[in-house]
Amino acid sequence: MKLTIGHLYPDLLNLYGDTGNIQCLKKRLQWRGIEAEVIPCQSGSRVDFDRLDLVLLGGGPDREQELACGQLKEIRRDFEAYVRENGTVLAVCGGYQLLGNYYRTGVKTLEGLGILNIYTEWEPKRLVSNIILKSPLCPEPVTGFENHGGRTNIGDHSPLGRVLYGYGNTEESGYEGVLYKNVVATYLHGPLLPKNPAICDYLLERALKKKYGENAHLQPLSDRLEHIANHSIVARYYTSLW
């Protein structure tokens, strides 16, 4: 078996250790004897969605995000079709915002891909914190770090999880991220996947099932270190509250 992972615009959107998510996807396939190919789709190059089983869209600084936004417009239709046909996507931070209808900053409005029916508005107070969620994707809490000025209103979409510690989508809503078809969109970096292997395996399994049918499944791995790392954050910020 083999999965092909497309990293969209790593030269523009590479903030907050996003490459760690790619590394995690790749290694967890390889450790199970599944071939993994990573295609870094540099800006300006053509993105062939037919070849991709999993797409990662990361975050970047404002100027780079604007440049990426221009590039994404050109592949909007393909990207939309990819998601409609249950393609697997992980979008983090800026990538999450770009999947929505628009991102309004203090000075201008960036038009998004409109794949998710959400919108983001910028506020001067940045939400910077460790963050812990309870997500339907995994039994243990999801941990990460958030750092965003945008407040994302997710409308009717279901969230990735309920916020146990930290801010989340808007600081007030109590929810974080979006789960839609096989799209996981979130503000969590840190990066997200290494400390939350269940989410990584969820994405990989969705991609495998789409490609090789419902019988395809992943062998369990020893995730002792991952769980200790996850638990050390939960113990520090959440359990200690009680």
Binding site: T19, K27, P61, N130, L225
Partner: protein, 532 residues
């Protein structure tokens, strides 16, 4: 409870002030601290005196502030050995909020140049080299202590360097200034020369993206239009400042590839032209985004450097190079120190300061400053390195891989506020170079409050490591059964503690152990570990 302790502390401080005979002067910060009572009286006092008093051209109030700073410095030395380097500046500013402006004016009136060093990495080293060159010429130099590079730290260094008569006890002022604090410091300081070393991503949760820092630096230098800029032109981000500022500029850079592949990571800043948005093209990279670059879209390109190091060679582990016609056999073990040397050299040349003993100064300079301390414990040689951002960490990896012999590596990652609470930057460092037998690494141990994040980072490169509860435990383990070379890489909050621990262990190894003192120190170490 806290208020009670605070009151006692303030009362006690006031008592010391009275005892020391400075009562009249030093009562000011004390009273101000308690509620800004005599502020009005103080203003009248300084106005009556006129803004230019007789003493060294300093107003009475400024002199009061200097005295207050000195008392705070004395108090620190007596009671708080080490740490708190910013307190004198804080106290001085309580007495006279405008003090930095007045002191900087006084320095200029006395005809003494002010250098400022800014940039993500290399500030301290560049400043030390500059200081060394000037001191070798017999000059006295005022510098700020490592890390004390925000407003109060800079102010402390300056205020403590004035004597009773209001004269600066030094011929030059060399200050390292944090980029993030620069917009609040440079306009007041009006330096003669500003050295910009480089800009990389650094503690994103505290300072934000590199573009924001660039903006702050731009505002800072725009407000100091007289200052001569000394800029590393290998950094396209820094060069993007040049067309937008009025300052006179000199550049330095390295034209030949000298950095090893292990010094680079694929994650870098500013891949695109800041003016037209086209991808920058590189002949080659040094490290980070530094290299020989040009934009094919708008013609924005690396200027030919005014000062460069040529014929760069690595001989027996140290770098030698030519500055003009002068060959320098430096003690630098890492190539980034050539950049730092060039920066200091460029600044000396920019201000046309005669330096006949330059060769002697540079060849004698010990690049292993406080941040790269070396220790010997028993048969083990230990090097302590600071790495606080991905580019810095990558350089340290490259440095240790270049050193001969088997070695053990100890990495301590904390997430205290000074380090940045977000440790995702560890994934921007390319650790692949540490894998495999070629690295010469016998073992890797991780510790610190984010040791599991670090261990996980290594796991995802298939690099096994040990996890230790504390730095002390890890060092002792290495002393028992490690190879002869131990490299310790820590981020900021652990540096002081690690330094102290290693000094202590070195003393212990020499048999100069003082059991009682050690016991209490050990306890405080453990406490520090818990807190961090």
């Amino acid at each position: 409870m806290w208020i009670f302790v605070r009151t006692i502390a303030t009362e006690k401080m006031g008592l010391y002030m009275i005892q020391s005979g400075y009562m009249g002067l030093l009562y000011c910060p004390y009273i101000l601290e308690r509620g800004n009572v005599i502020m009005g009286a103080n203003v009248e006092l300084s106005n009556a005196e006129g803004n230019r008093g007789e003493n060294g051209g300093l107003a009475l109030r400024t002199r009061l502030a200097i005295h207050a700073a000195k008392l705070a410095g004395w108090w620190l030395r007596k009671w708080k050995k080490g740490g708190g380097a910013a307190l004198p500046g804080y106290v001085a500013r309580l007495v006279e909020p405008e003090i930095l402006t007045h002191l900087a004016q006084a320095v200029r009136r006395q005809g003494k140049p002010i250098f400022v060093v800014m940039g993500t990495n290399g500030k301290t080293t560049t400043n030390s080299i500059l200081c060394c060159i000037l001191e070798t010429e017999g000059s006295r130099v005022v510098i700020n202590r490592t890390g004390a590079n925000m407003l109060n730290g800079v102010l402390s260094a300056l205020a403590l360097a004035f004597d009773r008569r209001g004269c600066l006890k030094g011929d030059y002022v060399c200050l390292e200034v944090d980029e993030n604090a620069s917009a609040g410091i440079l306009p007041l300081l009006q330096p003669d020369c500003v050295i910009l070393t480089n800009l990389f991503r650094d503690q994103l949760d505290r300072f934000g993206e590199v573009e924001l820092i660039l903006e702050k630096v731009q505002n800072a230098i725009a407000a100091a239009p007289r200052a001569k800029l000394v800029v590393d032109c290998d950094d396209a981000l820094l060069c993007s400042l040049l067309p937008r500022c009025e300052n006179p500029v000199v550049t330095y850079g390295i034209n030949q590839p000298v950095f090893a592949a292990s010094a680079r990571s694929d994650v870098r800043e500013g891949c695109f032209c800041p003016f037209c948005g086209k991808r920058l093209e590189y002949d080659f990279f040094h490290y980070g985004q530094l290299g020989i670059w040009k934009c094919t879209g708008c013609g924005f390109a690396r200027p030919s450097p005014d000062y460069t190091a040529s014929e760069i060679q690595l001989q027996k582990g140290v770098w030698s190079f030519c500055l003009g016609n002068m060959r320098i056999h430096s003690k630098a073990r890492a190539p980034y120190n050539i950049c730092n040397t060039l920066a200091a050299y460029g600044a000396i040349r920019a201000l046309k300061i005669p330096a006949p003993h330059l060769k002697e100064a540079l060849e004698g300079f010990d690049y292993g400053n406080k941040r790269e301390n070396r220790f010997c414990i028993g048969r083990m040689r230990i090097q302590l390195h600071l790495a606080k951002n991905p580019v810095g960490f990558q350089q340290k990896i490259s440095l240790l891989l270049g050193e001969p012999g088997p070695k053990d590596l100890l990495i301590q990652i904390n997430d205290a506020w000074q380090d940045g609470r977000d440790v995702s930057w560890l994934w921007d460092v390319d650790f692949r170079h540490l894998a495999g037998d070629g690295s010469g690494l016998a073992s890797i141990t991780v510790c610190g409050s984010r040791r599991y994040d670090m261990a996980l980072r290594l796991k995802y490169e298939n690099i096994p490591c040990r996890i230790a509860e504390s730095l002390e435990q890890a060092v002792r383990q290495a002393l028992r059964c490690g190879s002869e070379n131990l490299y310790i890489i820590v981020n900021y909050s652990g540096l002081h503690q690690a330094n102290r621990l290693l000094q202590e262990l070195a003393e212990e190894g020499r048999g100069k152990e003082k059991p009682q003192k050690n016991e209490s120190k050990k306890r405080s170490l453990e406490k520090g570990e818990l807190l961090s």
